[in-house]
């Protein structure tokens, strides 16, 4: 289980990016984090990735504090960030240099096949389209079988069709693992629909300082959510929550940050 305990992050210039974040994510859960720009959602992800350190509180994975980047926490960024001088195969193998050649080759081959890039092992990144490059980045993150996979607006630079394709693809890769071994996915996105399609739970954040506005369980069957008859209503409700989170606080209103009980987001009719 991944836990954020009263996590704060104050930047060197005094700006409080995150203030008292409490969040618990179960193993194998998919959590979407949405919020306006500057609400600290990417900072939150960087803290979990170990790329940045909280100025207050702690990030713990299975009871042990996350003190820096670790191989069991994978990251997919908004851009593919492939090394342009390495072939797709070598890019996917980037984090596997501690393994023997045979083992590494087998893992990489499997990862490339899972993301549908088996024929592109020897291609260079410049020869791939944006969607293919992002799939290669996904393969690079997944090949080491991380327990936690962090995704920072991973599909936002892609066009709508490819984005939907990759969302399904991500779910497919996630679901292809046996139930107990699925990675925990934490997805930062500004796309409400993406959060709803992928997540078990959506965390809405509000900014300045970054706090948890509320958490909402997505009570829709996982398969084919987008075409579920309740989907528009659920999306509308989440949108309202996001609007509420983006409104400046009334004077005297206390923060609702730290709400940990998820309210269902299913329509009430």
């Amino acid at each position: 289980m991944l836990r954020l305990k009263n996590v704060s992050r104050r930047f060197a210039n005094g700006y409080l990016a995150l203030d008292g974040i409490d969040l618990a994510v179960d193993r194998g859960e998919i959590v979407g984090i949405v919020g306006g720009s500057g609400c600290g959602k990417s900072t939150l992800l960087r803290l979990v990735a170990g790329l940045d350190h909280p100025t207050g509180g702690a990030v713990e994975l299975d009871g042990a504090p996350v003190e820096g980047p670790r191989l069991d926490i994978g990251v997919v960024f908004q851009e593919p960030r492939l090394m342009p001088w390495l072939t797709i195969r070598d890019n996917v193998a980037f984090g596997l240099s501690h393994l023997g050649r045979a083992e590494r080759d087998a893992l990489v081959e499997g990862a490339l096949a899972r993301v549908g890039l088996a024929g592109f092992a020897k291609a260079l990144p410049r020869q791939l389209s944006g969607g293919m490059a992002q799939r290669a980045a996904l393969a690079r993150a997944l090949v080491a079988k991380p327990g936690v996979l962090l995704l920072d607006e991973p599909f936002s630079a892609l066009d709508a069709l490819i984005r939907m394709d990759l969302q399904e693809h991500l779910l497919h890769v996630w679901a292809s693992e046996p139930a107990g071994e699925r990675p925990t996915l934490i997805l930062v996105t500004h796309d409400i629909e993406e959060a709803l399609v992928l997540s078990d739970r959506v965390v809405v954040m509000r900014g300045n300082p970054g706090r948890v506005h509320g958490q909402y369980r997505v009570d829709l069957p996982r398969a084919n959510r987008r075409s579920h008859s309740d989907f528009p209503a659920v999306r509308e409700r989440l949108l309202e929550e996001l609007r509420a989170a983006s409104r400046p606080r009334e004077p005297g209103e206390t923060s609702r940050g730290g709400v940990t009980t998820a309210r269902p987001l299913a329509p009430a009719f």
Partner: protein
Amino acid sequence: MTTWDRAAQTGGKSTQATPAAVHPPPRGGRVGRSLAGLGMGLLLPALLLAGWEAGAALSVIDTRLLPPPSRVLGTIAELAASGDLTLHAAATLWRVAVGFGLGVLAATLLGALTGYSEGAKRLLDPTLQALRNIPSIAWVPLFILWFGIFETSKVMLIAVGVFFPVYLNLASAIRDVDRKLVEVGRVYNLSHFQMVRRILLPAALPAYVVGLRGGLGLGWMFVVAAEIMGASEGLGYLLVDGQMTGRTHVILAAIVLFALFGKATDLILAGVGQRLVSWQDGFKSAR
């Protein structure tokens, strides 16, 4: 149909795309075009040489001061026949090779260090930048006193000349490496050494090759300076010897040989560099 089935299908569909579809062989007339370009570029020198030769034959030009191309080529042939060419060329090439190697080695170590570490940059870079402002030839008297009049001082002078372009290019290229790629290295928990070797050096390679070529050019410049200062063999010695004995054809032969060797070594370096950075996706980069 469940979501997973559909996802599997989309995955399957993209597997069927072949690599050939994304990178068609980008050849066609490349050799022909470069030959045509070469022909255009050769036109002017050929005309000049022909004019020069004709001028000498018609006694318009004083051949003692400016011997015709045929005489210069003849001198090179004589040097080759007597074995002197091998002796002098080998001496010069050896000095350039060793000086270049030492300069590149030092520049690569220091450039990687100051490019990567802010502390090392603050400590070392100001000193190196200050030293760079000293014209390298000014070191000659000091180097002769320090390292003697033989090979060491010559090789050191060349190494100093080679050092700066390589160092400057590498250090600034490393500082300019995309922060996003460096972050990938951090995600994978690379050590400082691994970060330099696996991300920073490869990413800086294109600029490094430019630095190497610049450094080699200066290496050839400084070998001339070093050999003029005092040498008993080498192409630079031929220059001095030709001046002392008033044989302008020997001087010109040495100049032509310098040009040939300089160009040849640069071509080799450029060719190797081109292969190393062929992954680049730039405007007019190798495709």
